[in-house]
Symmetry: D2
Subunit: 379 residues, 4 copies
């Protein structure tokens, strides 16, 4: 693991998620750029001190030189600006990678990673963790099966309220780097949560963007990056969309929702009540699909660990990204195809699509005009 030292939130999540099925174990780490802090975290995790490193470069080099028990993959849970250099070096050193989003700072970097994944043959999984929820997989299947008919409208939202005040001025760690262009990149809201929206729509519907117009705002005075974004989208094939993500929607926690309307039926899923999927019909009662029941699709069943009615949550879903990545790595180790076309995990191309989305939205907002949003990442 790179990152996830003292005080970090997402590092602990990655460790719980990776460990949930007992198939992966953390054995080495560069948890902080401060060697002492890195050692502290390593100690808490009962790791062999020899494999707790003071820098990610050191870790990758040292681990690459081990024979028998070298690590299988690197989990990158750092602030955004480090994703690319760490991922690049890890891939080049022959390791698979699980990486937080947004994947890189620029489209060029993203595309370079696409090519590197292809040439190395390593597994690269991006933690668009919301795709790990069973009922998101159910939603995808319903659309794939044509239950919704021709898609017409998609409304995806991710309102949060945690940046309603100038939190970064208080020294809060996560707020500080997320609102710092040097560490977060060109975006705050879009990078952190907007890309989840974009990816969720793509995962569930398969739709590709054609055009967009974005209105980005910095609603809290003194903030360096946007904290609110509203985007209208036209998808290829004629569907229209609204994407709304915000860090200043006060009182909201992680209210990610997706609604998809087709010619035959509609679906509605809420992350804060993730075990239920609502399906609305023009000529019959609304249905609530619930995780863990016999009638759910295979992918949703595979993504569940416990019976219906016992709620699964965020960590369970996050663990599904790791579970699929682990299956892919095992396949790759066994000489088979471990790519995302074979396994159900967010790919390096999904990552590139996200980075392109961020930069397109910024461009649209700056020019105050509809812009071309179509994009095909290097395969």
């Amino acid at each position: 693991m790179v990152g996830g030292g003292p005080g970090a939130f997402i590092g602990a999540v990655h460790r719980m998620a990776a460990g949930l099925d007992g198939q992966m174990e953390i054995v080495a780490g560069a948890f902080s750029s401060d060697a002492e802090k890195s050692a502290e975290t390593g100690n808490e995790l009962h790791l062999d001190p020899a494999r707790v490193y003071g820098s990610w470069q050191e870790m990758i080099e040292a681990e690459a030189s081990r024979r028998e028990d070298r690590i299988d993959f690197v989990s990158i849970v750092t602030p955004n600006f480090l994703h690319y250099p760490v991922a690049k070096k890890a891939l080049e050193a022959g390791f698979s990678v699980v990486c937080d989003k947004p994947m890189t700072m620029t489209v060029e970097e993203a595309e370079h990673l696409c090519r590197l994944v292809k040439t190395t043959g390593n597994v690269f999984a991006l933690t668009h963790n919301y795709t790990g929820y069973p009922m998101v997989k159910q939603a995808r299947k319903l659309i794939e099966d044509g239950t919704l008919g021709e898609l017409r409208k998609v409304v995806v939202e991710y309102p949060q309220g945690w940046l309603s005040t100038l939190v970064e001025a208080t020294g809060q760690k996560q707020a500080s780097w997320r609102s710092d262009p040097a560490k977060a990149g060109a975006s705050s809201a879009l990078g952190d949560i907007g890309t989840h929206c974009e990816n969720l729509v793509h995962y569930v519907t398969g739709l590709e963007m054609e055009e967009m117009i974005a209105d980005l705002g910095t609603m809290v005075e003194g903030r360096a990056l946007e904290d609110d974004a509203s985007i209208l989208i036209r998808y290829k094939g004629g569907a229209r969309g609204i994407l709304y993500c915000s860090q200043i929607s006060v009182g909201e926690e992680n209210n990610l929702t997706i609604r998809v309307y087709g010619s035959e039926a509609a679906l509605h899923w809420k992350q804060e009540h993730p075990n239920w999927l609502h399906v609305k019909h023009p000529d019959g009662p609304e249905q609530i699909y619930k995780r863990g029941n016999d009638y759910v699709t295979e992918a949703a069943a595979d993504a569940s660990r416990i019976p219906a009615g016992h709620p699964e949550g965020f960590i369970d879903a996050f663990a599904n990204v790791y579970k699929h990545a682990a299956r892919a790595m095992r396949a790759q180790i066994e000489g088979k195809d471990g790519s995302a076309s074979e396994f159900d995990y967010p790919s390096v191309q999904d990552g590139a699509r996200g980075i392109h989305f961020i930069h397109t939205a910024i461009h649209s907002s700056e020019t105050r005009s509809w812009v071309d949003a179509s994009y095909s990442p290097p395969q």
Copy 2:
């Protein structure tokens, strides 16, 4: 009453709403342009046949010539294209008017009505009925009182699904005229439900639009008018907004919702569960205000007829528009000021604002650009 003959939906609603408090009675009507049908409805309503007319012109003239028991006001519940001529003639004949929305076909007509209301001194109430819900009045009061702080984001939605297929081709009465430009005007979705969104935001928040960009779509082939609209809005003072109305959001019934986010708190109201108002705070539990309790504001209390927990619905809210209009008319009859600045009913200026909104959105969508949306109707 003008309109509301056999098979009409909204005419019956107006009659139930107007009669609920036992303060208004229907005594005359031109229910259809077909004299026979008009008589049929008059008969069902136990009206004096002498006061059931074959045309609205005839009705207004005949009633205007009565001395003692002439009608006090005209309810206009016709398709859109008749609102203006009937309202104009009624006002000119000295009657007050309760009129369905959208108020007119053009901005010019709307502004002419504004001036006519001023010069005649009659009451003119537009049935933006959703403002009649007690918890909408509570929402307005919370914002007026500053509970939400400075307003930052407004998301208003009105998805319906009833036009997901080409219903108008089946001869269904309401679908037929609503999708016919000659009878509905330049818009279907915006005129029927988009104006409710626009008005609800204005009523609850007091915000004035500055700019907008709209994306209007006709998602069902063969339809003459738009059936889906997504609009980004910038309000004066810095707040941003999303307005989404749709008649092809399959499976939706009348899912009007409004969310307002301020610097201090947020509120959320849903028309389909209208007795509850959610208020979200950054630093304390979410609150659910419920109609009928001692803690609600005076305007909300005044808008309720029964105790908390016994749900009030659409007709009850609609009746509140009539109740306030009746109070205003009584004031006006008594020689006092019956204008909307004194009483809580949607005014002729609200109507003009709605018509301007429709035409601005169409203009933005056609030019695919941000446009000026500011507007001050004649007072």
Copy 3:
């Protein structure tokens, strides 16, 4: 109308409900035992002062002696102890009756009314208004059609919190008579809301009680009657039940709910969100039936006045009891059978069943034992 004078809540509800469809008009009343107050209400209702009476005896006698325009029926909206004498006299005078529940003070009185309704042939409707909700009718139909299979368990609840303190000591009018045995009868909670539970179960499921054990409590010191009741029930045919009604469930408004579990499916309805009916299946998604849609049963459709998604509420449902009673009275006037076996309104037998239920529960609670709860009212 008898009762419903100044300050009364339920009188106004009856008037709004009766008037909603424009088929009934109030023309006479004895609104209070205080002639002045009665006149005051009559005046507010724009009634002919000659038909506003100072006592119900006077009203029934005077109206009975009119020829052409005598009233068709009497609405009884008084405190409980007056239901029986007024109903008896009205029936004997040849009038139909709409009466509030609980129907009488004793089982003997209730059975006498049953016989009187039979011998006079008049219509007698009890305002178990919750049966007027469309989705309650839908629930009944699903069970009648066998969708739930063999019934196994029924859980019905009606928690309120308005008597959490000794409100009657403050002089609040309704609380005062409801907690006064001389006016309310032997029960407060059971009489006011427990009978609604009992009736709702009977209406929806058709189940007949066999045995019960009740635990009645007076949880607020100083109160003369019970304010909380929990009852276990065994129904004929093997189903079991729980009935919980309470006036001290603080924070609750009118949270009447019914859940019915069968061998094949279950249903769940909540009065506070009355437009939805949840149906749960062992092997498929939960369904939400919504009022106003094409797929609902005829009785539910007939009970709706407005389209789906525009909420109907308490008054709309209450009006359905009046609507069915009006149909029955019209039939009876035309010489046809107007009895509750032909029309869908709560009957005098339902009333007797409710009174028997109250007294059986009191008996069980006093003896702290299971008691026979079977009962067949006189037909």
Copy 4:
């Protein structure tokens, strides 16, 4: 671990829960009475084959004889009839114990364990996992702080529908032993889920039972044990209660809910939406407390691993029982007091209370009478 072999559900849950915080590791097991199956599970878990045993007796003896790396505690996840013998032997061998509920088959066994825990000084934690949810801890704190005032009414329910048909006849493993008196004990519904209800009430409110009357039913023909129970309860101090648990409430999953009404406020918690706690007030808006926010109490905050709005679920809550047990064991190892009075985990006394509850309810149902339900387990 004892139990949790191939096909077992709860064993895997215990392992995920125990491992979530990276503080406990499974190192030995007797996963099945079939040595081959035990080995199979051991292999899947990557355990040292030498520490995978063919019987629990063998395991306890072998582990007790190890010096340096002997296990710290035994997790008992077997069918009910084995809980007692395994727990007894483990405690006697000097191990702490985490045990599934119901704790034993008889009250005598339960009380023997109470004494054994006292004399050995070992930690004994019962997995009443629902007490691990943060908002359950919040509920407890609100009551402890007096927010609800004097408690008056408690309604606790746990309806499930999975035994709506004679599943045990199909060979389904869990249904088979749960409905077999030799393996499950004297009860099915009460033992499996009724004890969770009883414990949840005790944990949240601190109330002690005084009397009860129970109605147990076997609603599915051919079943050996009860599958439905309704119980009325009187608590010491005057509060009344309803407890309803059922395995034949078709369509229900794990719909455990608790409602507590006091003189000042009420609370409502649902296991299927566990991150929210509703608090109702007589004179102010309803509140929704949400996990992960700054305003929650210390115990709730300590029970959370991720920020608000990212749902935690069943495993997260289950892990909290293990977390507290681990803290207690660590204290005990360090020579401090590891008892449940110092740490927040369900104790051996809670277990005894549950067993007494089961047998009291059976006795009440058999005698069809109110019975004494008071009980003080050996401390």
